[in-house]
């Protein structure tokens, strides 16, 4: 019961309170770049969820089984990047074979995820927070992906409506998007402290 409680709390915490985009400012590039339309944003969010769960789990395993045994924790960054790039490749091949429609709809987003810093960030955070349990690491990774998906979908929804709004000329385009992102972050700051 206690484990379940911890897992649930961890999940809610990473999705809403410690959201990668809103509180850590990671993954801002796709968050602003691919949030033009809601269907594309959802595709990106799902792809990230997929990869982050896989690479979060794999990096935890590698970190605990290989790197921590030997005093080689300094190579963590490089190893993690290797894992993420490999995982993306693997996911791409797997999807292409078994879910061709999903693969088509992901399109260019899948290879782009390799350079998404939210994923590397999450892998490093799992280490920083000292997660000692594989199950917890998996849940946290999955939650981070869902959190990213939530953030990018909210942003895309707002931006779709923003297209029809009467925005002052000087704020059109990037400025209003950044202001929106800031306001959205402020709103999510309200959740801080919900879980101690």
């Amino acid at each position: 019961m206690n484990t379940l409680n911890i897992l649930l709390m961890g999940f809610i915490s990473i999705v809403i309170i410690n959201n990668m985009v809103f509180t850590k400012f990671l993954g801002i590039c796709p968050y602003l770049g691919v949030s033009g339309r809601i269907d594309m944003a959802f595709g990106m969010g799902m792809a990230v969820t997929f990869v982050v769960t896989l690479s979060g789990t794999l990096t935890w395993l590698i970190d605990h089984l290989i790197l921590m045994g030997t005093p080689l924790e300094v190579t963590r960054y490089v190893c993690f990047i290797l894992v993420i790039a490999g995982a993306v490749q693997l996911v791409e091949m797997y999807l292409r074979k078994f879910f061709p429609t999903l693969y088509e709809s992901f399109g260019i987003f899948l290879p782009l995820i390799t350079t998404n810093c939210a994923i590397l960030g999450l892998c490093l955070f799992i280490n920083l927070w000292g997660i000692e349990n594989l199950l917890e690491a998996v849940v946290l990774s999955f939650g981070a992906g869902i959190g990213f998906c939530l953030a990018i979908c909210i942003m895309a929804g707002i931006r779709e409506n923003l297209n029809l709004a009467d925005v002052p000329d000087c704020l059109k385009g990037a400025p209003i998007t950044l202001i929106t992102a800031g306001l959205l972050t402020l709103a999510f700051m309200g959740f801080a402290g919900m879980i101690k």
Binding site: I66, V74, C79, L82, V83, G86, M93, E104
Partner: protein, 290 residues
């Protein structure tokens, strides 16, 4: 001695990286063999022959999906407007088919030539600045047929070939690929895709089906349906108070030139890459107030 220490502490890191990298390489190698997807080589060849600009003019999501579709169903050949007849020929070669000549490439023609000073407004429209919203209101501008000038076609164009010049959609024929996205975007169906058999094509740049008097009262350059052009040559037909050109038998002669000169409002104009500037309507001075 220092170098030896450095080496001693560095090699395990290198070894770990190398083994991890090799491990992933092996996994990916196995995966790429096991998860290989058989792709018809023709699809790739067709994809190479396409312009790869993903305009969507063919009705598919992009060039790669069109290539796949055309390989399966050869009757979809010739849908690629930017590639035109040449691409269709190449695809036919790849699929070893015979095709008939698909004719001249299609380019859009805007059937309106009213700029800001030519138009009449009963009131100022201050709603959502898109054509599709303005078109929903009866009085966004006096003319119910002409260009609204909010640029739905401009945002539909992926090639930057359209622009709004003084409230009128204007095509840059140098940049246009003929994908037809603008034609679909215009809520007033002003943009027609016309086979450009010549570099410059004659057109009746108006869509107003109101009678002559009403058209005249709303627009300085509208077609009043007088029929002077139709008397010159049977290339022109008057339907619903509006002159139309028959592009099926398009062949400019001296009579069409005369028809162009005789047109009292000057709606018969040339459009194309090197079209001459249209003359101003005869009776009204060019410096008319807005």
């Amino acid at each position: 001695m220092n170098y030896l220490e450095l080496w001693n502490s560095a090699w395990p890191a290198g070894a770990i990286m190398l083994s991890l990298g090799t491990g992933f390489a092996v996994v990916l190698l196995i995966a790429s063999e096991k998860l290989k997807v058989k792709v018809d080589p023709k699809i790739e060849q067709i994809h190479q022959a396409l312009p790869k600009i993903d305009c969507g003019g063919c009705g598919f999501a992009g060039c790669s999906s069109y290539a796949k579709a055309v390989a399966e169903k050869p009757n979809l050949i010739g849908r690629c407007a930017p590639g035109g007849a040449e691409t269709a020929k190449k695809i036919a070669e790849i699929l070893s088919l015979q095709i008939s000549d698909s004719g001249a490439p299609k380019r859009p023609i805007v059937h309106c030539r009213a700029h800001t000073n030519d138009k009449t407004h009963y009131a100022t429209y201050s709603g959502i600045p898109t054509c599709i919203s303005a078109n929903a209101l009866p009085n966004a501008q006096a003319c119910k047929f002409g260009c609204l000038g909010f640029g739905d076609c401009v945002s539909a164009c992926k090639f930057d070939a359209l622009s709004i010049v003084d409230d009128l959609a204007t095509v840059d024929y140098e940049k246009c690929t003929g994908c037809g996205a603008c034609s679909k975007a215009c809520p007033r169906n002003l943009i027609e895709m016309v086979p450009f058999s010549k570099e410059n094509m004659l057109t009746v740049a108006c869509s107003s089906k109101e009678n002559g008097k009403t058209t005249r009262s709303m627009c300085k350059v509208g077609c009043i349906g007088c029929g002077l052009c139709a008397k010159q040559t049977d290339l022109f037909k008057i339907e619903d108070n509006l002159a139309r050109l028959d592009y099926e038998k398009y062949k400019p002669t001296e009579q069409t030139e005369t028809a162009m000169d005789k047109c009292p409002t000057g709606v018969i104009i040339f459009v194309g890459k090197s079209a001459p500037a249209p003359r101003q309507p005869a009776e009204k001075p060019a410096t008319a107030t807005a």
